[in-house]
Structure formats: C-alpha cells, structure tokens
Symmetry: C2
C-alpha cells in the first residue's frame, strides 16, 4: 500500500520516529476502532464531537450524532480534523517523566462532504453498520426514505493523514534502571460483556453469533 | 453539587433529554476516563489531539503529548474544546435507524492556560499521575528541574461544560417490536491484562498491588 506524503500538519514535531505515514500502518488502526473525534471550527472557535465511523477504501464515513451543529457548519464544505485513538496500555517507567502510554492513533485532515446521493448514502450506512457490528445489516429493518433523509453521513478523504504509535516497555534514563521500582506495561483492552436482551418486544430469539462472538 | 448554566455551545440541539449539566453527572465521567481529545483552531483550521488528563476540583489538567504544536498555539491563551468519551456498549435495535451506542461523554469549552508556577505544576503532575494510575506517584523517581521544564501542563476551567449520556435498551418504532430480530445491548468495557514486566533493569521486584488490582 502507498505511503502518504507528510504535510506541515501531519508531520510529527515531537518524537518523529513515532510517526507512520504508510497506509498499511494507518488503515488497520482505523479498521480496529469505531469511535472518532471530529474537530471543526466555527468562527475560529473549536468544536470536538465523538461519533461512529467506518473506512471504505480511501474514504472515512462519519455519522452525525450531533448532526445539526456539524451540518450547519458543513454547508459550504468545512475543514475537519478527525482523530481515532486506541489505548493499548499504561507504561510504568521508573521515573514520572518517562511514564507513558502505549497507543495507536490516527489523525486525518480534510474537507468533509455530505453524502447526498441515496445510493451512495445507503452504501455508506451499510459500511458504518458493518464496521461497527459485522453481520448486523442483513438482519435489521433497512432505513425508510424518511429515515434516510433524517440521517447525515459525511465523507472525509484519507489523503492527509498520519498515525502515531507507541509500543513496548518504558524507556528510562540509564541511571534509573537500578532503582527498586517495578517497571513495565499494564495492557488495557476493550472486551464485551454478555449481551443483554431487550425485554420489550418479541422474546425467545437467540442472540446471533455475531453478537456472541463480537471482537474488535 | 452545582448545575452549570447551559450556553449556546453546550446546549444539546439534538436529543436534548440526553444532556446533563449537573456537576454531579459530569465529574464522575471525567474521573472514570483518562484520555481526552483536545480541539483547537489555528488560523481557523481545526486540530484534535488525544492526551491524558486529570480533574482537580473545577480544573481539568491536560498534559501535552503534542506539546509543541499545542504550546505554540497557546501563547496568548487559546480556546479549546475538550471531549471525553466512554463507550459503554453497542445498542442493537430492530431497525438500522434506531441502532445506537450507549456512552457517557463530556464536552468542555474554555481557554487553556499554561501552568508555569513550579509548585502548581508539580501538584498538577501529581494529580495527572494519580488519576491515571493511583498509587504510582509515591514510588517513581520525581521530576528533576529540567524534566519539569520539558513538561507542559495546561489547565482548563470546568465552567462551560455538559455531558451527554445514553443508557439502556434500544428504542424501536412501535411496529418493529414484533420483528423476528434479536435486539438488546452488547456491553463493552475496558479491562486490564496481566502486567508485563520490563526485562531491562533490576529484576525480582513484585508488581505492586495498584498494578495488579487496577480498575477504572
């Protein structure tokens, strides 16, 4: 897969060796996560909104949960900065200064555009559903025309992006390695708990395997 | 605890009943999370950076991992929008349209200021460490003067903020409840994996209880 050209905005200033510009490094992070934080500015003032997303090729689809404010801001094509962050663990160094976290994060800069064509919109909604919970789309009742109209989907091109990754043990100052302090990593991960059936509506339907075996 | 006055920016436009303005609702979300997304604008262009944080009273301390860009932007006192998001589960409705997530999120608007006084800075660093991994501060080597200088801590007042919370089962359209589709919640949670000792440096130190019993 190709490597993106670092720009002024995507070039890591601090700890440049943590920067990743290869799509082969960026895409798997986007494909593992499912919540992004979308930043945009209105009259120079910043807003950040968490929302679900999915990647399809070199597009990131975002799904407006705070649709109205984003939408108003979007008319005219607004610049966004989208951030996806996976936290993999806490890094316990022997010094406070070198204590850190292990993470994989992606930042994307671009102009978000509204997907208006009904066919493309349905494809994007399918991608969002299948990204967040693969297998679900085939079973749910599909959107009606008025539901489609009430739904906002934006696309951001994955042309100006970079990833930042930290893995592994702490890196301490040479003289600190002999301190009597436990050091290492405390890995963190997102797991599912047993599904909770909705007690309203039709009962006796077994939970589907894509729910029981859900894994990111 | 007091209730914040909703402002133009913190008033929920969509689904207003999900909005929480009481500090008693906002603070526990901030205290459970430890990664925030900080949004700011430079020349009207948005940036979003993930970083660690801690709350102390009505201040949010943020710790600059992308220190340089944030710092440059900050000289002069820049507006930020800080977002903290806890994802509690996937909500499987019978229709695609009503499918959702359970989450607790907080958004804070304010002007970030640099903490420069060494005493206050050390307090803030202690708060950050103790928020992210309680018990650790007492054991690590404390920051030297030059490490302190290389560290950036910002404070954002918790005066203009709101939380947004969704809990519980899906809310479907009346006529969909009889569909032959499993519906409910798939809870998600962040867990720790067994700690990984750093194989460099002094060995034979048992992992401390605050690592073994870590829980958010």
């Amino acid at each position: 897969m190709k490597r993106l050209t670092p720009t002024e905005r995507t070039t890591l200033k601090r700890l440049p060796k943590r920067g990743v510009y290869d799509l082969a490094g960026i895409y798997p992070i986007l494909d593992e996560g499912f919540i992004c934080h979308v930043g945009f500015a209105i009259d120079g003032r910043p807003y950040v909104i968490p929302t679900g997303y999915a990647r399809a090729g070199d597009l990131l689809f975002i799904h407006g949960s705070a649709a109205s404010r984003m939408l108003r801001a979007l008319s005219g094509g607004i610049e966004v900065c989208v951030s996806v962050t996976l936290v993999d663990g806490i890094v316990l160094a022997r010094s406070a200064f070198h204590s850190s976290m292990n993470y994989r994060s992606v930042v994307i800069f671009g102009v978000a555009s509204l997907i208006e064509d009904p066919g493309r919109k349905l494809e994007a909604l399918t991608a969002l559903s299948e990204h967040i919970i693969p297998g679900r789309w085939d079973e749910v009742r599909k959107p009606t025309e008025s539901e489609m109209q009430a739904t906002t989907v934006l696309a951001v091109p994955l042309h100006e992006a970079s990833a930042k990754v930290r893995t592994g043990p702490p890196i301490d100052d040479e003289e600190d390695y002999e301190l009597e302090v436990w050091a290492g990593e405390l890995p963190l991960s997102l797991v599912t708990r047993p599904p909770i059936v909705d007690e309203s509506g039709r009962q006796g339907i077994p939970p589907p395997s894509y729910v029981l075996n859900y894994k990111r």
